[in-house]
Amino acid sequence: MGLEPDVLRGLSVEEARNIHVGIAEYQVARSPHRLLTLGLGSCVGVALYDPVARIGGLAHVMLPDSKQFRSGGKPAKFADLGVAVLVKELQRAGSRNGRMVAKLAGGAQMFFGNNRAMQMAIGERNVEAVRKALKELGIKIAAEDVGGSVGRTISLDTSDGLLTIRTLGQPVRVI
């Protein structure tokens, strides 16, 4: 995926950009840019923030465990690989583990009805797997907006670490 070099330069607030993070992808950026990911359903948006260096990272995780699959693809697709990759990328940009805090959003149950899409409880398992991966790396979770049955679009402001959550038909939340 690689970092976009210019989003790691410090810029004035007026130059803040929205950097989109696709499904199963991750990005890191320095203040004042915003990291954005659209349409989280059972997927989990993992936002990491270092308030001292004012560096943020965002991953769009889709599945809990890479070890259940033979062929996987992108590491950020899985909670167990994606969180570690994101942490490493923040460190490379100048952040330190002890300063990073995490915020999570997503992990919803999108389908109702009694079929496999329900029984898999994939959202719940994604959230659990992300929590576990963060705990193993000693990163505290500062806030969460997880579960429920709504899709979420989220945006991490790297100037203050606030995570804005938009859903259809509900007021905007900031955590």
Binding site: I23, L38, G39, C43, S66, G113, N115, G151
Partner: protein, 215 residues
């Protein structure tokens, strides 16, 4: 994942027969004309598939059915909000415009449409191949397309960056009512050999292998 261009053609033809039957069932059910596009079978990454259907944040209603048996697959029917409402009015024999938002009754009507169409789809393929296809009961979601589609793929247990989509759209027309729907079948690629074998396609002599990941 490799699959020959011949097999892609066969999947498109299977899709054509299956969805053709499903569209006919819908036309009978609603007493209306239904037009459908010729299905395409392609490997798409999630972003491409979502863009094709209407974009990440588009509000949609999606019916999700799992097919088990010899040809495991996930089948999705995706309607935009006005189309879903028009479908409910037609199915319940109500005056156009009666349904403006979907309630429990509306959701259950849309799920029933998915049920009936999938029954026709799997029935046609079973009859043609002699294979067993067992559709599950439907599940439904009403939210952003991106959130729904990624969830359906994850719940199907697909981990590859690209998924095989047999995709088409159909339109039901009655007076000024227009109902657009997308049909998407996500087959388990590893299990498709049984389908090809039943149709007399020999898997071992795959000479003209096309790497569909690069398409």
């Amino acid at each position: 994942m490799k699959i020959s261009s011949t097999k892609i053609d066969i999947l498109q033809e299977i899709g054509n027969i299956g969805v053709g039957n499903a569209a006919t069932a819908l036309a009978h059910l609603l007493q209306t004309k239904v037009n459908m596009r010729v299905p395409r079978a392609t490997f798409l990454d999630l972003k491409e598939a979502i863009t094709l259907i209407g974009g990440v944040e588009k509000q949609v209603v999606c019916v999700n059915l799992r097919v088990e048996g010899d040809v495991p697959a996930t089948i999705l029917y995706i309607f935009d909000q006005p189309s879903a409402c028009a479908l409910v009015d037609l199915l319940l024999g109500q005056k156009r415009g009666t349904t403006t938002a979907l309630d429990e009754m509306g959701y259950s009507a849309v799920m029933e449409i998915g049920n009936i169409m999938t029954g026709s789809f799997t029935g046609a393929i079973a009859e043609m191949t002699g294979l067993q296809l067992v559709p599950s009961v439907p599940a439904l979601a009403h939210d952003m397309l991106g959130a729904i589609f990624a969830t359906a793929v994850a719940a199907s247990g697909y981990a590859e960056d690209q998924v095989l989509c047999i995709q088409t759209s159909f339109v039901g027309m009655q007076n000024q009512d227009r109902m657009d729907s997308h049909f998407i079948m996500l087959p388990e690629v590893e299990s498709l050999d049984r389908l090809f074998a039943a149709l007399g396609v020999v898997t071992e002599t795959q000479v003209s292998g096309v790497d569909c990941n690069r398409m």
